[in-house]
Every structure is written in structure tokens, then in C-alpha cells.
Amino acid sequence: MAFLEAHGLTKTYGETNAVDNLTFTVEKGSFVSLLGPSGCGKTTTLQMIAGFEDPTMGKIKLAGRDLSAIPARDRGLGIVFQSYALFMHMTVAENVAFGLEMRNVDKAERKRRVADALELVHLGHLANRYPRAMSGGQRQRVALARALVIEPELLLLDEPLSNLDAKLREEMQLELRRIQREAGVTTLMVTHDQSEALAMSDRVLVMEKGRLQQEDSPFEVYERPRTSFVSTFLGKSNNFEAELKSVTPTASQLLIAGRGLTGPSVNLKPGTVEVAVRPERIEIVDAADAVITGTVRERIFLGAQWMMNVATPLGDMLVIRRNAGRREAEIGDTVHLSWAPEHMRILPLNEVAA
């Protein structure tokens, strides 16, 4: 049975639905990300689970009990805020002890648990410091220890890494995942950073405009995006229109820029569709094998790989090629592009874009 369940969760502000009929579940002990651009409703969802906002409609259940009548202070969730929200007038140990004090945990027990929590985040030696004398990464750990010390059933992370610089962020991704695994706590993270969500989560929930777009493992969301939005929001993607001629249980027939192509089977009716191909799946081939031909417009050398922008009849296409030590096409050269049929994702046409 699912540990955290949201059923038809809706939050309306005036005329607009910030969160629109959202239904999802989180398994016990797993790390799940709510991923989406700013304004997609992910933070509002977190606020409703935390109890700081009341849902307009819908239900949230944690371990089988309905949360709607329970005030935020009695939900017993651990929350790490984007700004960390540390109590600046208290030492690190006092910050971490606060939640235990509120639960009337006796002094000896409190001391032991605070020490354990600080040990978990590797801050045992800084217990008597004030947060103002700490770096961003250390403050983050304090916030984490403060949220975990109350042994919450659910840990909520609100953009936990967005205030850190790039290098520290990568370090903290691994660190956060280690801490989560050691503490064994079910975690829901809100983020707009797709690489963060892919790197850390067991499952990713992609949201757009208050709606759930796709729920899958990180590999599946990247490999098998189900909508045009998901394909472009996670990683880079070349999306173009094509004509779906016919579908069989094992394959599909496509017409791309006047050329017939066999693709993977898809649950769509024949008509105009959108096709997405990842830039790293496109190969440069001989003229005879080409799906499409174009001219190199820009070329950037990134060390491990080359990134090229190729102007084709389908529009500009991004091609990423592993640097294999060979010479690559120069700007202005004509190149022939091809990709394996299984690397094509056939998606319903996105009405908004185009």
C-alpha cells in the first residue's frame, strides 16, 4: 500500500488552478521528486502536504490517515526550507533540539538524539556554533538535522540545493541521498532542476501548469517521455512534426520530411504527431543512409563531446557527438543525419508549441 497518497488534489487561487486534480502516491522509504518549472504548482503541493495551505479539493493521506483535519504542527513532518529557515539566535544544537523540546523529550534523551542527528550530517564538531558563522552547505545540513531529529514519517525538501553554488550542489546531492538512505525516511523533494531530480530520485513526478505530466523512474522519464513538455523539460531534445501513417502492435509508419520511416509502436491514431529525438542519439552518416541532410551552423567543442547546431528542412537540430579523437564537420559543411528508429519518441502533437 502506498505510504503517501494524494487524491484529486486541487488548489484554486481566484480563477486559476495552481494545482489541478493531482493524484499520486509515494512508497514508503522512497525518494520522490516533484519536478517542474516555476509556477507549475509543485511548491503549492508541498505546502498542502505540510499543512501550510488548505486544499480547495481533494485528499492527502499519510500512512492511511487523512491529514486534512490535522494542523501543520501535529503532522510530524520534517521540512527543509529553501532558505533553510534556521533560528539565527540559537546555536546549532539548540536549533536541532527545538523539535524535541516541543515534543517534551526529556533532557538526556534530547541530548543523545541531537548528537546522533548532527553525527548523521557530519556536523558533530560544530554543535555550539551559531548559524551566522557557517557556510551555506553547513546551514543546509543543520536544517536537515533539525528536520530529521524528530524522526518524521515524511521528509519534505523545498528546493534544498538551489541556494548553493554549483560544485557544492553536486556534493550535497550525493550527501543528501546518503543521509536519506541512512535515515530510511520517505522523502518528497520539490525542485525545478531536472538534473537534480534525475540524480537523486527513485521516482520523478513531472508537473506543468498544475497538472501531473508523467510519473516514472528517472531513466524512464528521460528515455520515454510521454508528452512534448516532458521531452523538452528533461534534457535536450529535437522535436519536430511528422505524419503518422499507420500503427501496428509492433511498429509504426511515419512520414518525416517526405521520407517514409519505421518507428516504434505507439498508442496514437494516425495523423499529425510530434517526434522527439535526443541530440546524443543522432549520428552523422553517409548520404545514402541519411534521414535528413543539413548544414552545420554552429559548432562548440566541450572536451568530452562536440555540440553542433545543424540547419535542416525539419528546423535547427542539435547534435551531440562523443569526441572520439577524429576530425568533425566544420561550420558550413553539409552533413547527413540519421537515427535508429527505436530512439524516436512519438508524442501527441503539442497544441501550445509549434
Binding site: G51, F52, A72, R75, I79, S83, A85, F87, M88, Y130
Partner: protein, 282 residues
């Protein structure tokens, strides 16, 4: 080129110099002159005025009363102002602008009019005493006019906005998520206020106290109307020395002593604030 900023601030500096520094210096020098009942002000230099003030228990009492009133006013302003600022901070923007207007309302009315209003309320035949007597709650009127308590009451009313605004500014500087964080850890609203919000606005309370204390210690119109001849404070004593006794040098010496003592208290207070809270809260 470097002279330009000076030129631009020259009008303000001139105004400041002519209207504040010159009279202040003149008062300072005046305080060393002597006064004879028949001879008037004599252009001598001595410390006799200061000696007279410091050695007379009459003046000690007046100084003591003045600072006691200022301290009590500061205390009550903090007591009322801090919750008021917190309520203001928690209100929705539409309500907030209405309440801000109510808070700064007392400042929009002339001090004399406002104080006379208090006199109408507090007098032996005033509104409060008449009402209480009519309801049969008291037999004889409670004495509120011409008492230190009445002065503290009226001064608290006037200076409350300064405290509210100082504390409100401190509230706006803090991270709004800390209250949510405390709530998520299981704290009740009163605990959040006492353990989380209050400690973070102490710098605001202290700077508000500084303003209220110095203004209360040097206030004139309110103690003059509500205290009358019987409850004298330093400012009204200076007034009397200048305009009734005509002993300008003595009045000047009292004024200088008030200025010096308020400054000493303010500087000491400021150092306390800076040492304790200077870096504690960014």
C-alpha cells in the same frame, strides 16, 4: 569636483548650524554665567549653577521623576508595541494599510490638542471618573490628572507609533519561513512568538526604546499640561527657570545636564545593543 557634495549639502548644514548648533553653544556658555536677583545675568564664568543643581535634592527629585516617567513610558510602549507590530506583520496587505494609519494616527494630531483630550478624560470631573461614578464602581474620583501615571499614559499613547514602526521594521528583516519551520516542528502560536519571533526582533525593540526614551525624557507639552505645577519634570523646570524666575543661567545648566544625561544613557544603550546583537542577526 570634490567640492560639489559639500556645496549641495551646504543649505542643510547652514540650517543645522544656525538653528541647532549656535543656540546649543550659546546655552552651553550661558550655563556658566551667574545670576543676581537685582543685577540680572552677569558675564562671569563659574560652575556655581551646576553645583547648585547637583547639590539640591529638589533637582534630584525632578531628574529622578523625569527618568522614571521616561522608563515607564518606554516599558509600556514595548509591552503594547511589540504585539501590535506582530499583529500588523501578520495582517493581509489591505488590512495592514488601514491599521498602519490607525497606528500613526496619534502623530497626525497636534500634541497640545491631544494632551488636552487626555485632560478631559483624566480630570476629577472628567469622562472616566464620571462614568465610573455613574456606574457606582467608585465613590470618589480617582486622581489621574497631575500625577506621573497620567503623564506616562499620555506619553505612551504618543510614542507608541515609534516603537511599533521600529519593531515592524525588524520583523520585516527576518526570514518569513522561520515561523513555518517552528510550526512544522510542533510549536504552538504563542511558543513561536515567544521563542522564535521575539528574540529576533529584540534589536528593533531596543532601537525603538532608544527613540521613545529620549523623546519621553525631554518631552515638554504633555507633562506641562497633565502634570501642571505639582508634577514637574526637567523640561518644565527649565521652562520655569527661563520664563518665570528669569534665571537663564540656571535653566541653561539644567538643560545641559538633561542633554548630557540622555546622551550618556543613549550611548551606553547603543553599545549594549551593538555588543549583544550587532552580528547575532544579519
Amino acid at each position: 569636483m570634490n567640492e560639489k557634495p559639500w556645496m549641495m549639502s551646504a543649505p542643510a548644514l547652514t540650517l543645522f548650524g544656525v538653528l541647532l548648533l549656535v543656540p546649543l553653544c550659546m546655552t552651553f556658555f550661558l550655563s556658566f554665567n551667574s545670576f543676581g536677583f537685582y543685577t540680572g545675568i552677569e558675564n562671569t564664568v563659574s560652575m556655581e549653577n551646576y553645583v547648585e543643581v547637583v547639590s539640591d535634592s529638589y533637582f534630584w527629585e525632578i531628574f529622578g521623576r523625569t527618568f522614571a516617567i521616561a522608563l515607564a513610558t518606554t516599558f509600556f510602549c514595548a509591552l503594547l508595541g511589540v504585539p501590535q507590530a506582530y499583529i500588523l506583520y501578520r495582517l493581509s496587505p489591505a488590512w495592514r494599510s488601514i491599521v498602519v494609519l490607525i497606528v500613526i494616527g496619534p502623530l497626525l494630531i497636534s500634541v497640545v490638542v491631544r494632551t488636552l483630550g487626555w485632560a478631559i478624560l483624566l480630570g476629577n470631573n472628567g469622562v472616566i471618573n464620571s462614568a465610573l461614578q455613574n456606574w457606582g464602581l467608585i465613590e470618589r474620583p480617582i486622581k489621574m490628572m497631575y500625577t506621573s501615571g497620567g503623564i506616562v499614559l499620555a506619553l505612551t499613547h504618543v510614542f507608541l507609533p515609534f516603537m511599533v514602526l521600529a519593531v515592524w521594521a525588524a520583523l520585516q528583516r527576518k526570514d518569513p519561513a522561520v515561523e513555518a519551520a517552528a510550526e512544522s516542528l510542533g510549536a504552538r502560536p504563542f511558543t513561536i512568538f515567544r521563542r522564535i519571533v521575539l528574540p529576533q526582533v529584540i534589536p528593533g525593540i531596543l532601537s525603538g526604546s532608544l527613540i521613545v526614551f529620549s523623546m519621553a525624557a525631554s518631552s515638554f507639552a504633555t507633562p506641562a499640561i497633565l502634570g501642571g505645577r505639582r508634577v514637574k519634570v526637567v523640561a518644565t523646570t527649565v521652562y520655569d527657570e527661563f520664563l518665570n524666575t528669569l534665571n537663564w543661567p540656571l535653566g541653561a545648566a539644567i538643560a545641559m545636564l538633561l542633554l548630557a544625561s540622555v546622551m550618556v544613557i543613549m550611548l551606553a544603550w547603543n553599545r549594549l545593543v551593538e555588543r549583544r546583537y550587532g552580528e547575532a542577526l544579519e
